[in-house]
Subunit: 456 residues, 2 copies
């Protein structure tokens, strides 16, 4: 292990140079005219993995291709499924970049480019850790499967269908995902929970067609007013979601998590500063960090219908629709919440209106057991690398692929990210601190060795 | 008087032919490329009035011109201000017209054309009544002032400024407006009330910018949710507006009006059919016809903000705005309601949001005294013409110019319309029953004579 770490340190300059080659490919998955670039990035990675000694290939899908690779010559040892994505967000608005987004530049210790942190720089950590071990020991201490996709930034549509059809081929003891951030430059983190999602559109119908409020005001059902009543009625004054049974399966954070969270620099004051508000409304009596990570929420994203242009129109809208989503936490199930929502919404609709609830998307919440051997191995690897024990955090967002690893492939996922909270993901001037790229490689080397040694 | 009526009957064919000439001018006030046509219609009417013996002229405004005319040679007799508008709505959608909108065609008794009923056919009634009297008696029994505008369909912006600056020149004992409909083909109506209007935009601000619901759901104020809460909070479960003091100055309809309304064919069943709904929600315990004519209402017209496109976006909107209007009834005052609204809206806004209420438009409600001499004269004239006493109705809409006559010029307005409820105003295939055109002329002749004779 020490030789692998030494190798990684020796080859830092080359590792970065290779990463720059990958980053120069503008593999923007949402841009149809970039499809060839997404495919080129897939090919580049498959070739790179093959050169390292992996059995690697590009697999076509209905959308952008996947990269699959295996190194399975450690019989009796655990298997790790390394996941990453080689597609990137569009660089718009281009005018706000101070350097061209696909001409990576290193200034001091910082690499600026689209994809630097999300996720090319981080997926490359896994590959370089494997290289360091293979080139020094000749073999990996664990079996490694690699799954890289080119559609993460567009919602992983192909992977959603791929996972259940490749359960056996992808089987592993744990997944490893590096697509997140440290808590702070010197405080590594392991993400142990992700919220799930239920996103619906509520369509409201009132009169046969729009009516004039002079002619019908006082007798006509108003579809936008109905949508507003439904949205307002889905939460009570204390910030709780008013769907019967909504909280029945909410699992409170463990005492260990609560204790760990209390030490984090995520305070109400910090949130207010970041949001630019004088209040952080939510469930009464629940600390903000728990509201973000361990409590479900409901938000409306927009209400369509009627007239919203310049000036005025005295229309009583006959149609409206509201986009509403709920962030869910373990052990809530999107399909059960949906069934309850479908029953409660019509009761909130006023007379003369009818409603329809349509699911647009869902993802199950994820909770990673803190005592899973892979999580414990990752914690030790991070502590050895950073000199400080990692924080156990959660994320308020959803990562559908991790929900898939958890609930379809039924394996724990180690979410060990090496970016920083201000990496400008999805924004101009995305960046990645190279110190963390190198520390990530060392931590991953240690993680593979620790897990292979059967620690836990 | 009988000679004037006989004259009108003799010249029916010519009266219609002249009206067709006026209708052929496509005086669409909202279409900039039709400005010359609007001016042409003004010129046509001024020339026509001058030929009848009026002192007539076109007056320029910042927008489309007005037509002003006077015949003031009946000293000691009452003065009537005849109002009408010679601009029309655009004919779109053109494809739905079965005949060209500006090539009027008469089929049986029905004239089809844009402007046939709204309002060229009806304003022409006043002119032809004056002609019949002048050509048979040599003088009118009352003084007549004529005010015709070319901006009614775009909200009468120039007239709003014109009225207060021409109080003396426009002074009269009553205004006469024919821009409405009979209750049914053989049941004439006098409209004795119009609702007022207060139209506002409520702007809501939450966080500094839009936030991601994964990252901030549970602590972030949601501006669209706040707008929904405000809109929902402005009415209670019983359909009443929750602005303190909102109903304080609402005057109930008189027993005579209630009795008259009970006989009208405006039932809840008819409204449900017309709206295509199974309920006609409104204030609990108030009959539908009173909710339409004698009770104030509040409607939201649209809520802007957040994401309403196809698909999904997990945005927590930082900005939203709601367009809300109230129909007001005597003796509510828009400026007082606005002051109360401005105080109540912030109390409905949830923590972390701020709101601003901006007035977009207002109009005071109008109540015409049933015992005004001009109203009694109109009632007798209608009964003599139709063989049945007119129904006293109100309108749930607002006619700003009538509010101006009432509250700025301080005169009662006789709202005596000769269209039919299904004339397709503002819609394809607008029509006007010529029998009512001719009955309108006879009723107006009788109205002038009755008022001139000092009846009441």
């Amino acid at each position: 292990m020490d030789r692998a770490v030494a190798y990684a340190r020796e080859h830092r300059a080359r590792f970065v140079a290779e990463l720059l080659d990958l980053i120069r490919i503008p593999s923007i998955s949402t841009a149809p005219e970039r499809a060839a670039d997404v495919a080129r990035a897939a090919r580049w990675l498959a070739d790179h993995l093959a050169a390292l000694g992996f059995d690697a290939r590009v697999e076509p899908t209905d959308g952008h291709p996947l990269v699959r690779a295996e190194w399975l010559r450690a019989p009796g040892r655990p298997t790790v499924l390394c996941y990453g994505h080689f597609d990137v967000q569009p660089p718009d608005p281009l005018a706000l970049w101070t350097r061209p987004p696909f001409e990576p530049s290193v200034e001091g210790d910082v690499l600026y480019a689209r994809g630097a942190s999300d996720d090319k720089g981080q997926l490359f950590i896994h590959l370089k850790a494997a290289e360091a071990i293979l080139r020094t020991a000749g073999a990996l201490p664990v079996n490694v499967k690699v799954l890289l996709e080119g559609e993460e930034e567009i919602g992983s549509p192909s992977l959603a269908a791929y996972l259940p059809r490749h359960r056996r081929a992808l089987a592993a003891d744990a997944a490893l995902v590096s697509d997140g951030a440290l808590v702070a430059p010197d405080l590594p983190a392991i993400t142990t929970g992700l919220r799930g999602l239920l996103y619906v559109e509520i369509a409201v119908r009132g009169a046969r067609h729009d009516l004039h409020s002079g002619q019908f005001g006082g007798v006509a059902p108003n579809a936008v007013a109905a949508a507003a009543q439904i949205v307002a009625g889905l939460k009570d004054r204390r910030g709780r979601v008013r769907i019967p049974g909504f909280y029945a399966r909410v699992r409170p954070p463990s005492p260990a998590e609560r204790e760990a969270w209390a030490r984090l620099p995520i305070t109400e004051a910090a949130l207010l500063r970041e949001m630019g508000t004088d209040a952080a409304p939510g469930e009464e009596g629940v600390p903000p960090i728990e509201r973000l990570w361990a409590r479900p929420t409901l938000d409306v994203h927009g209400i369509a219908g009627g007239f919203t242009g310049e000036g005025m129109k005295t229309v009583i809208p006959s149609r409206a629709s509201a986009k509403v989503s709920m962030r869910l936490v373990p052990d809530q199930r999107p399909e059960r919440i949906l069934a309850r929502l479908v029953r409660v919404v019509p009761r909130l609709a006023p007379p003369g209106t009818s409603v329809e609830v349509r699911e647009l998307a869902s993802a199950r919440p994820v909770l990673v057991p803190l005592d899973a051997p892979a999580v414990r191995a990752a914690a030790r690897a991070l502590e050895a690398t950073f000199g400080v024990a990692p924080a156990y955090v959660r994320s308020g967002g959803s990562i559908p692929v991790v929900a898939g690893f958890t609930h379809i492939l039924r394996m724990p996922t180690v979410l060990m990210g090496f970016g920083l909270p201000d990496d400008n993901l999805h924004a101009p001037n995305e960046k990645f601190a190279l110190a963390n790229f190198h520390r990530g490689i060392e931590a991953t080397i240690r993680f593979f060795y620790d897990l292979g040694a059967g620690g836990g």
